[in-house]
Symmetry: C2
């Protein structure tokens, strides 16, 4: 499996000009800039664009036609086939350079056998999660009343859990009544439902550079046009943010405020205020993804707290702190948007998962949870220090020292390409997160994101050290 | 709550011409025939369309503008506002006649307090589900290894559950290897992911008339154009099916084969064969939704069994037979479509719910499951007989005698409008399923769908009897 995908990578990265042209067309189809029935660029013009000969483009188009991705109409040219989007989505993974594919880290991490090491993944190892609490919650649930075990959840989701979330948000300065909160199956589903509600195909969405790679994958699935603004240690670069709003009038901005993924940066109050003023001026809606909230030692600024859920929508989940096996997330938004969200949730997933909601409620109510989180924050803090020391010894420098969380965003020495290091590590069953999967502008070639909770095995540093030594 | 929605219904159904014009515009926006930035019909032309005066249209447009649904551009006309889709989706429920809204039954059923009676809903009462098995499964899981309780599921889903599903499909004559099966959070999410993979906005999709109402809601969310063909006791009307394929070239057909929702009809082998031949001729892909499979007494024809998963995609779920609280469904499809589906699943929900998958696996492996299903089928069969007798006594006639399942599709006497009966029943806290929520062509005004497992309380028949007596 692993050796197979490596082989395919080599074929395409080192590969021929024909594969390069094929990959470029596939990427346009996967990215929806070419869709079913669209005419492909003429052979002559595309040869110019790609800086190859016309015969290379002819060969590439012929092979794509043989695969059914495009169709030749004699005398008229080549057109995207009606099932091309399906084919392109399935092909874009293995055939393109997976190191810069937004699915790369997710798929490698989710497919990884438990024996593999995953310093690139975005979650805690099972042994860091509240295992005892989870087992207690399951036993408690095994004695619950029938409906808890058998019925769909209510459209908004379990009322006592929404009340609890409302109180917890209040502790972070965000006012949201329980009827402004809708439970979802996950933080990802929360953003997906919001995109369904707020976006039309072709709308522009602003993200941070770098940002969580799955935002790119999700926005592609919504046929949105994605633009990005560089992230600084205090939040987005405000000058460039203003310019992006002026030039592109994005409909949405998706970001993390408290513990930014992947950088670990924290939004400053002054940046928060300026971002909100600009959002108001340009009619921008903001999705604030706060799934790492419980990892904070002290409360830092939230856009939703300043804005009062007017143009900011706040989302969260319990996958990072309780369990990724019991899926449960939520949306807190203006009451007048909640009705539309309920309809979309029913249309696309019918009832929510009541069992997961009951488990999360049990776990959060359990007296052990706050103690567990306290200990977990200390443990992460220690791990952050230790991993920083070990990385620095290899010449790998954190971009900043995060106040909290799991992630260290690090620059490799000597302009080494992180994608090369990640591919090499994968051969040794180590999943890394190379910088450019987080960067729409592909501006993070020399970066890696480390999850400090997944770096306990020293093989991680041995393999990194050898890989860097070979490249210096 | 109930009295409120009844009041709004009366206002709009009995309501003024202005509300009618407003409702028509809202419906076009909700149905995506008008989208953000589109110009509205001119006042004069729309007055002609709606057979009202121009001053009525002026008033309706002004009110919609005041609500922010549309915007006036002086000298140019009225345009759909950028957040109109969100507003329209949230407004279409209460303001239009909810009895013909595809969300009506779902929302009333899911929002119902447990004290309410729900003969219109689509699932079994908790007491009919394998309660003991579920409690055993939860206790077993509370002793499972850490990853089962803490980690995301693999992208395809828990391997032993996929093997078990593959074997069970084999028993129904459908050949699908475990790597052709992907777990989803629900049957609904399965269809949603397939729509994401296979549809472009504006593509045409064929459904049965009548069909499960949520197909309409889901396809609307995908901006698909929906057409329908009448369903007969042996499957779709083949002549009209052929004509629909010739005239509209739909990309997809979504249907149930074994126990059709809402009619309880069973596809005949000869219809199955003709549908598949037509599908091949016109390049049609078919989604066969088989979530009621385990209710069958004897195996009836499946399109996927005849076709061998070439152009048929088969989906299933466990919400109807095990638990609606532990969400788990699946897709069985051509191997070359599975890769694209994995990417879409990751992009829109990241990891699957491993806990639900582990619970379903435990329940299905439990020796008690087959015995439970045997008893359940007998119980449903008895209930079907009893409910049929009680309905006939009220002059309510089943359209056919289903071979199995939960549903009776029934015609009211004397051309009584089922929507009126359903609204009246709701005042008495009884949720019915009026025919037209299942019918794109609005051809089922005189029908109701009954779930025989939810008809044990004789108040259902008392209220029905009184409502019919008043109308005869």
């Amino acid at each position: 499996m692993v050796s197979d995908s490596i082989r395919m990578l080599d074929e395409s990265t080192g590969g021929t000009r024909v594969s390069m042209v094929m990959a470029a067309i596939r990427q346009r189809i996967a990215g929806r800039s070419l869709t079913s029935g669209d005419k492909l660029p003429s052979i002559r013009s595309f040869a110019g664009t790609m800086q190859v000969s016309t015969s290379t483009v002819v060969e590439a188009y012929d092979r794509l036609a043989a695969e059914g991705v495009i169709q030749s109409r004699p005398g008229s040219g080549f057109y995207v086939a009606s099932q091309a989007a399906a084919l392109a989505l399935s092909e874009v993974g293995p055939k393109l350079d997976r190191a810069i594919d937004p699915f790369w880290v997710s798929r490698q991490s989710l497919e990884a056998r438990s024996a593999e090491l995953k310093p690139g993944c975005g979650w805690l190892p099972p042994s860091w999660l509240p295992d005892d609490g989870m087992r207690r919650a399951l036993r408690t649930l095994s004695r619950a009343a029938g409906p808890a075990l058998a019925e769909y959840d209510a459209p908004l989701g379990l009322p006592p859990l929404r009340q609890l979330i409302s109180r917890r948000m209040g502790e972070r300065g965000i006012e949201a009544s329980p009827d402004q909160i809708m439970l979802t199956e996950s933080g990802t589903q929360a953003i997906d439902l919001l995109c369904r509600l707020l976006l039309e195909p072709g709308d522009t969405v602003l993200v941070d550079d770098p940002c969580y790679f799955n935002f790119h994958a999700l926005l592609r699935a919504h046929r949105a046009r994605c633009i990005s603004v560089p992230y600084t240690p205090a939040g987005p670069d405000v000058e460039l943010f203003a310019q992006a709003l002026r030039d592109h009038r994005p409909r949405l901005y998706i970001t993390n405020s408290a513990i930014h993924n992947p950088t670990g940066a924290t939004l400053s109050p002054v940046t928060a205020h300026r971002v909100l003023k600009l959002a108001e001026q340009f009619g921008l809606t903001i999705i604030e993804d706060d799934i790492f909230a419980d990892f904070e030692h002290a409360v830092s600024p939230r856009l939703a707290a300043f804005d009062g859920l007017d143009r900011v929508i706040h989302i969260g989940s319990f996958s990072k702190t309780l369990s990724a096996a019991a899926r449960c997330g939520f949306i807190a938004a203006r009451r007048d948007w909640i009705e539309g969200l309920i309809d979309l949730k029913i249309a696309t997933s019918l009832g929510g998962g009541r069992l997961s909601a009951e488990l999360v409620l049990n776990l959060l109510r359990d007296g052990g949870y706050r103690k567990h989180m306290e200990a977990l924050r200390q443990r992460l803090s220690r791990a952050m220090g230790e991993v920083t020391t070990r990385l620095k010894a290899l010449g790998i420098e954190p971009w900043l020292e995060p106040q909290a969380g799991l992630f260290l965003w690090c620059r490799l020495p000597d302009s080494i390409d992180a994608a090369d290091v990640a591919r090499e590590a994968l051969v040794e069953n180590i999943v890394l997160a190379p910088g450019n999967v987080f960067s729409l502008a592909q501006s993070a070639t020399g970066f890696l994101r480390f999850n400090v909770s997944q770096c306990e095995d020293s093989r991680v540093f041995d393999v990194l050290g050898r890989s860097i030594a070979r490249r210096r």
